[in-house]
C-alpha cells in the first residue's frame, strides 16, 4: 500500500483535531482534539518509519504517547479542579493572561 494513504489519513485526523481546537470552547473537548492531533502525528511517524525501514520513528511515537499521557493527566486534573471550584469552563472566559 502506498504511503500516501497513511499520510492522507494522518492529515485528515490532524485537520479534524486542529479544527476542533479552533472552534470548541470547552477545555475538555479541546484536550480531546489535541490528542487527535498528537495521534495523527504518531500515525505519520510510524508510516515513515515503515517506509525507511528504521525504528527511529517508532521510538518517537512511543515517546509522544508517554508525553501525551502525562499531559492528559495534568490537563484533566486542572479541568476537574476547575469544575470543583465552579469556575466557568470556557476558554474564552479565561483570559487573565492578556497583556
Amino acid at each position: 500500500m502506498s504511503i500516501a494513504w497513511y499520510l492522507a489519513v494522518s492529515a485528515f485526523i490532524f485537520a479534524i483535531g486542529a479544527g476542533g481546537v479552533l472552534v470548541k470552547r470547552n477545555p475538555l473537548v479541546i484536550l480531546l482534539c489535541l490528542e487527535l492531533m498528537l495521534n495523527a502525528a504518531n500515525l505519520a511517524l510510524i508510516a515513515f518509519s515503515r517506509m525507511h525501514g528504521t525504528h527511529d520513528g517508532q521510538v518517537f511515537a512511543l515517546i509522544v504517547m508517554v508525553v501525551a499521557a502525562c499531559e492528559v493527566t495534568v490537563g484533566l486534573g486542572v479541568i476537574v479542579a476547575m469544575y470543583r471550584r465552579r469556575l466557568p469552563v470556557d476558554v474564552d472566559e479565561m483570559r487573565e493572561l492578556q497583556g
Binding site: A18, L22, R95, G99
Partner: protein
C-alpha cells in the same frame, strides 16, 4: 645637633599633647584645669623653643640648617616626602616668638574665657592651633608646609565658629575656611611647578636647584605660592575673611588673626627667598599687592566703627608692610616687623577684649565713651599698644616699621613709590589708632563705664548678637554669661603686662647703628641672597626715614586729637564733603560684593542648574527616560496582540505553521 632635633620635636609635640589631653579629658578636667593644662604645655613648648634656639646657636654658622626626619611619609615614585623638620635661624626665631606670644595669650584666655561652657574645647582648639602653626614654621619640606598651612586654616575655622550657635559665626567660619582652601590650592599648584623643575620636595634640595627651574615655571610657581600667602595673610583680593573672622572670641583674634597665623604668608615668602630671587616679576607682584593692601585696609580702618574690626584692618595693613618688605628683599626687616607686631597687636586685642567684656559683648565704638577712669590698666595697655602701632618713638613699632621702609627705599627705582604710600599710611595708621583711643577712653563716660566706676560690671539683660542684633540662643555654644576684665583678673593683667613691656622694648633688638642682633642671627638662613647682601640703607636714608616716620605719626596723633577731642564737628563735615569716598571705605571697597559676583553666585547658579534642570532633563529624562520610553512603546505595540483568547492564539499558531510549511514546500 641631636639636642636641636630633640628640642624641636618637643616644641612641636607639647601643644599637640595639650590638645589631645583637653579633648579627651573634657569630662574629667574640672573648673579652670583645661586652661592651666593648655597654658602649661605652651610654656613648656616656649622653654624648649628657647633651648632649641640656644642649641642652634652653639653650632657652627654653616651647620645651622638642621634636618630632623621622623619617617617616610610619601616617598614613592618620584616623590621624596618625609615627615621632616628644618631648624634654621629663621624657623627657630619664628618658633620662639610664636610660642612666647601664644603662651601669654593662653594665660590671658584662662581668665577671659572663664565661665564659658566650651572651656575645654576652647583650649583644645587653641593648643591645636599652636601645634599647626609650629608645624608650618618648622616643616622641612613642601608637603608639611602645606599640611601645617591647612591645619592652621582648620584651627582658625574652628575658633572663628567657636560660638557655633551664632549663624554669623558659622558663616564667617566657612568663609575663612574656603578662602584658606583656595590659598592651599595655590600653594599645592605652586609646589607642583617647583617640584617639576627640581624633582624634590625638600626645601634645601629645591633651593639648591632653584636656578635650574625654567623661567616660566618659577614665575608661575612663585605667583601661585603668593596666592597661598595672600589667602592666609589676608592680602587683597583674598582679604575679606579676616574682618568677619572677628566673630571668634577675642583671644582668638589676638592669637590667630594678629600675632601668628596671618603672618604665615610673610614667613612663606621669606622662606622661599631663593625662588623669589629667581623671579623678579613674582616678587614685584608681592611687593605691589602688599603696598596696595596696607593702604586700602588703613582707609577702611579709618571709617568702620566695630572695635575689633578696626584692629583687624590695622593688622591687614601692618602685614601689608611685612609682605612688601619680604617681597622686596628686605627679609630681616620684614621678620623684625612681624616680631614687634606680634607683641603690640596681641596687646591691643587683649585690651579691646577687656573693653568689650566691660560693654557686655558690645563692640560698636559709637556706644563706648570714657573708659579711662573705669579701666586704668586697660587704658594704659591700649595706649602703649596704640603708640607702638602708630610708630611713635621709641616704641617697638617705630623701629621696625621704619626699618622696613628704609630697606625698601634702598631698592630704589619704583620701590620708592611704595615707600611713599607706606609713609602716608603711617599717618593714617596713627589717625585711626588714636580715633579709637579718643573715642573709647576719653569723653563723658557711657552708662557701662559709669556702672564700672561704681564697682559693678555691666551685664546685658538679653544677650544679642553684636552683628545682627538678633537674640542669642543662650542654651549652649554661646559666649558664657560671665565677663572678665583685665582690672579684676590676675592672669589677664600678667599677660598684658608682659606684652606691654615688649611692645615698648622689643625694638631694641635691632637699632640702626647700635645693634644688629637679628641681622647677624639670621645670616645663615639668608646666606647667598642677593638682596640680603646688597641692601644696606645709608645713614642718611635710615635716620631721615626715622625722622619722617616719627613726624608723620605724631602728626597723625595731633590731627586725631584735633578732630575727635577738640572739634568733634570736623569729623561730620569731612564725611559730608567726601561722601562717595566715605561710602567706598565703609563698604570696604566693595571687595565682598566683587567676590560674591565673581565666584559665589556663578557657583551657586551652576549648582542650581545642575540640581533643578540638568539632573531632571538630561540624566533622568534622556538617559533613564529615553530607554524606558522606548521599551514602553515597544511593549505596548506587542501587548495589543495579547488578547487572552486561547483560540485566537491557537489560530495564529495554525496560520503561522501553515505559512512556514507552505514556504518550505514552495522553496523545495
Amino acid at each position: 645637633m641631636t639636642s636641636v632635633k630633640t628640642f624641636a620635636w618637643l616644641t612641636l609635640l607639647f601643644p599637640l599633647a595639650g590638645c589631645i589631653v583637653n579633648a579627651l579629658g573634657y569630662r574629667v578636667l574640672r573648673g579652670k584645669a583645661p586652661g592651666y593644662v593648655g597654658t602649661a604645655v605652651l610654656f613648656a613648648s616656649f622653654v624648649s623653643a628657647v633651648l632649641m634656639l640656644f642649641a642652634l646657636q652653639d653650632l657652627a654658622a654653616e651647620e645651622r640648617h638642621v634636618r630632623a626626619v621622623a619617617w617616610d611619609y610619601m616617598a614613592v615614585g618620584g616623590f621624596d616626602g618625609q615627615l621632616a623638620l628644618l631648624i634654621d635661624p629663621l624657623s627657630a626665631f619664628m618658633t620662639v616668638t610664636i610660642t612666647g606670644v601664644s603662651s601669654l595669650i593662653h594665660l590671658y584666655s584662662v581668665a577671659y574665657m572663664g565661665g564659658d561652657r566650651g572651656y575645654a574645647r576652647f583650649f583644645s582648639y587653641l593648643n591645636f592651633f599652636v601645634f599647626s602653626m609650629l608645624l608650618l614654621i618648622l616643616a622641612g619640606n613642601f608637603i608639611f608646609l602645606i599640611v601645617g598651612w591647612a591645619f592652621v586654616g582648620a584651627a582658625s575655622y574652628l575658633l572663628i565658629s567657636f560660638w557655633f550657635r551664632r549663624t554669623t559665626a558659622t558663616a564667617a567660619g566657612i568663609k575663612a575656611f574656603v578662602i584658606n582652601v583656595l590659598g592651599d590650592v595655590g600653594l599645592v599648584l605652586g609646589t607642583f611647578f617647583i617640584f617639576r623643575g627640581t624633582g624634590t620636595l625638600d626645601y634645601l634640595g629645591a633651593f639648591e636647584k632653584a636656578g635650574e627651574i625654567s623661567g616660566g615655571d618659577v614665575t608661575a610657581g612663585c605667583i601661585l605660592l603668593l596666592v597661598g600667602a595672600f589667602a592666609k595673610s589676608a592680602q587683597i583680593p583674598l582679604h575679606t575673611w579676616l574682618a568677619d573672622a572677628m566673630e571668634g572670641p577675642t583671644p582668638v583674634s589676638a592669637l590667630i588673626h594678629a600675632a601668628t597665623m596671618v603672618t604665615a604668608g610673610v614667613y612663606l615668602i621669606a622662606r622661599m627667598w631663593p625662588l623669589f630671587e629667581e623671579s623678579e616679576s613674582a616678587a614685584a607682584v608681592g611687593a605691589i599687592i602688599g603696598c596696595l593692601t596696607l593702604f586700602v585696609s588703613a582707609t577702611i580702618g579709618l571709617v568702620v566703627t566695630d572695635l575689633k574690626r578696626i584692629i583687624a584692618y590695622s593688622t591687614m595693613s601692618q602685614i601689608g608692610y611685612m609682605v612688601m618688605a619680604v617681597s622686596s628683599g628686605a627679609y630681616v626687616a620684614g621678620i623684625f616687623h612681624f616680631y614687634t607686631h606680634a607683641f603690640f597687636k596681641a596687646l591691643l586685642f587683649m585690651a579691646a577684649g577687656s573693653v568689650i567684656a566691660a560693654m557686655a559683648g558690645v563692640q560698636d565704638i559709637d556706644r563706648m565713651r570714657g573708659f579711662r577712669g573705669a579701666m586704668p590698666f586697660t587704658f594704659g595697655c591700649f595706649v602703649i599698644g596704640g603708640l607702638s602701632l602708630a610708630g611713635v618713638p621709641p616704641f617697638a613699632g617705630f623701629v621696625s616699621k621704619d626699618e622696613v621702609l628704609a630697606y625698601v627705599a634702598d631698592r630704589g627705582d619704583w620701590h620708592v613709590a611704595l615707600v611713599v604710600v607706606g609713609y602716608i599710611t603711617a599717618f593714617i595708621t596713627a589717625l585711626y589708632t588714636f580715633r579709637l583711643i579718643f573715642r573709647v577712653f576719653f569723653g563723658e563716660p557711657s552708662p557701662e563705664a559709669r556702672e564700672l566706676e561704681e564697682g559693678h560690671l555691666h551685664h546685658a539683660d538679653v544677650p544679642r548678637n553684636p552683628m545682627t542684633g538678633e537674640e542669642e540662643d543662650t542654651d549652649v555654644g554661646f559666649p558664657g554669661p560671665e565677663h572678665h576684665i583685665a582690672e579684676r583678673e590676675g592672669p589677664m593683667k600678667g599677660a598684658m603686662g608682659v606684652l606691654a613691656f615688649f611692645a615698648v622694648f622689643a625694638g631694641f633688638l635691632q637699632i640702626p647703628n647700635v645693634t644688629d642682633a637679628l641681622d647677624t642671627f639670621m645670616e645663615p638662613t639668608f646666606e647667598g641672597s642677593r638682596f640680603h647682601e646688597e641692601l644696606h640703607p645709608s645713614d642718611a636714608l635710615t635716620f631721615g626715614g626715622l625722622a619722617i616716620g616719627a613726624a608723620f605719626s605724631l602728626a597723625g596723633i595731633a590731627v586725631a586729637y584735633l578732630i575727635w577731642m577738640r572739634r568733634p564737628e570736623i569729623a561730620a563735615q569731612v564725611r559730608e564733603r567726601f561722601r562717595p569716598l566715605h561710602t567706598l571705605f565703609v563698604n570696604k571697597w566693595y571687595a565682598d560684593e566683587a567676590l560674591d559676583r565673581l565666584f559665589v553666585r556663578p557657583a551657586a547658579w551652576f549648582g542650581r542648574f545642575a540640581q533643578q534642570t540638568f539632573e531632571r532633563v538630561v540624566v533622568n529624562g534622556l538617559f533613564v527616560g529615553g530607554p524606558v520610553g522606548l521599551v514602553r512603546a515597544g511593549s505596548a505595540a506587542v501587548r495589543s496582540r495579547q488578547s487572552g483568547f486561547l483560540r485566537a492564539y491557537a489560530a495564529l499558531m495554525v496560520v503561522g505553521l501553515t505559512g512556514v510549511v507552505l514556504w518550505l514546500l514552495i522553496r523545495a
